[in-house]
């Protein structure tokens, strides 16, 4: 590490462009969102400060339903990503022939343009001609076609499944990397003592992967909470608002109805939740890195 005075100036000079960019494109808009949330900004040129009126206006039953829905949606999506990702990592960690190819084959949902993957799901969910409805009918599991995106309850789960589909590859690859960092001799010692495969997973893999699981759940929570593309492309928040999460709600208010002030107030509520997650995340990461300090 280098500490001299001229080196310090050089270091700040290296950082300056990136800091400036992020200040203008992220920090300033963040500040503006707070400011606008206290105004009646719209397409009109005149902008008046209205105090807490936007917040008084948005905090009603509908908005609380949206918040609850967002949390339920996020919770199930993250939970499923973790479970399926863990199963995938365990399976891909098994030493069977072909596993390198299988590992590569997990990546496409993560790497291809998100919107295009979602278009494909849009077709799969099609009631009349889509694959899922078609196969369900063929195996006699449903009587008629099921239009997954046309009913609130099925659309809710359909959007979760698509979100899980996009998130699983990253979780799997990350868990797999963490799994392979566990020292082999631990398993060998346990094996010598007669521990079975399940016991070894339960007593060695899971505890040693706890940091990776916690870190990934937090990152996944933040990403899922911010999810926009999937719901927008599949349902636009419908039918009758049944898949409207906070992000979709904010987008509809701000961009759809051009109520910038009110939309900003909704965005501020999202920011508050995100900051809470963010603080929790940093605290957890610090604690994991240095257990003695916490």
């Amino acid at each position: 590490m280098i500490k001299s005075r001229s080196a310090m100036i050089f270091a700040w000079a290296l950082l300056a462009p990136a800091i400036l960019y992020v200040l203008i494109i992220v920090a300033w808009p963040l500040f503006e969102t707070f400011r606008l949330s206290f105004t009646d900004a719209s397409l009109r040129k005149v902008v008046n400060y209205v105090g807490w009126r936007n917040y008084e206006k948005i905090f009603n039953e509908t908005f609380l339903t949206v918040i609850t829905r967002t949390f339920i949606w996020t919770f199930f999506s993250v939970l499923l990503k973790m479970i399926i990702g863990m199963c995938g990592a365990v399976l891909l960690n098994a030493s069977v022939p072909g596993r390198n190819i299988f590992r590569i084959l997990t990546m496409p949902p993560w790497i291809v343009p998100m919107a295009i993957g979602i278009f494909m799901w849009g077709w799969m969910y099609n009631g009349q001609f889509g694959m899922i409805s078609g196969l369900l009918q063929r195996f006699g599991l449903t009587d008629g076609p099921v239009a997954f995106l046309a009913y609130g309850s099925t659309a809710f789960w359909a959007t979760i499944v698509t979100d899980v589909w996009i998130g699983v590859p990253m979780v799997t690859i990350y868990f797999l990397a963490a799994m392979q960092a566990i020292p082999k001799d631990l398993y060998e010692a346990a094996w010598t003592d007669g521990a079975g495969r399940w016991t070894r997973f339960r007593r060695i893999t899971l505890p040693l992967m706890a940091p990776a699981i916690i870190t990934m759940s937090m990152l996944s929570l933040i990403a899922t909470f911010n999810s926009f593309d999937i719901i927008w492309i599949l349902t636009q928040g419908g039918p009758s608002g049944q898949t409207t999460t906070m992000i979709i709600d904010t987008y509809n208010t701000a961009i759809g109805s051009k109520k910038y002030g009110e939309g900003a107030a909704r965005a501020v509520v999202i920011c508050l939740f995100l900051s809470m997650f963010c603080i929790a995340y940093f605290r957890i990461v610090r604690r994991l890195a240095d257990p003695g300090k916490a």
Binding site: K3, A18, W28, L30, W165, A178
Partner: protein
Amino acid sequence: MALFRKDDTAMIDRYRWWEIVGIYLGIFAFLFFLLSPFIEGFLVSLKPLSQLFSSPYTFWPENGSFAAYFDMWKTVPGFARYIFNSFFISIISTCIVLLLVVPAAYAFARFRFAGMGLVLGAFLAVSMFSGAVLLIPLFRLMRTLGLLNTYWAMIIPGAAFLIPSAIWLLRTYMMRIPTELNEAAYMDGASQFYTFRRVILPIARPGIVVVAIVTFIGAYSQQFIFALTFNSKTEYMPLPIGLYAFFGKQEVIWNELMAASFVGILPALVIIFFLQRHLVGGLTAGAVKQ
């Protein structure tokens, strides 16, 4: 990163036959979930429309042909342009990110100064706020700057959100470059800038390449919300938005939409297969202590 290492099958890894069957069944179920939209999408692109819109559902195409791959150019007139736009936006975004991130990552990797932890934390926090939350002020900013309905309206905000992970990745890489190199250069009287430019950059090149690839993929795969909101000109639309407009029509010509989608994801698939070794390492860097 030893994800693709060949290890010797020790006794501990011997499976009984039913365990092997179970593992393969599990892997196939897992991969089926991840790949079925692509398989179905590909089969749909081969089916004639008459078969698509018929009941009962048939999985396999009858009289399948690649006709849709030729017809789509007529149905989606801007298709070639959309692909070009997608590439153009991704390449410029990647260049901007690299220009900003390479010096910043070096500063984080090599220098220790007051407030560094805070600045690094602030950069990482950027990735926690999606563009969707900041859409209103960004929209007003782009309008004020007169950038609405230009490439820049998609490139500038998009690049900002690619910075955090790029910094993190490259910092991890640069921390592994021995400090002795800096000391040796200092002894020889090289300036800080000379050392960075002539000593560090050439050594860091493989890391920079990985960061460039990962950033490009991020830029290519996440073109939606800014393009949807900040641009309404057909000639600047990236592929996802171009196809989205097509997707929203009353009568969707599904086989051609799927054919177009496949051509659109091709670059990403090519990258996966040629660069998977770098990719896995790059995408999971920081996951595990090296």
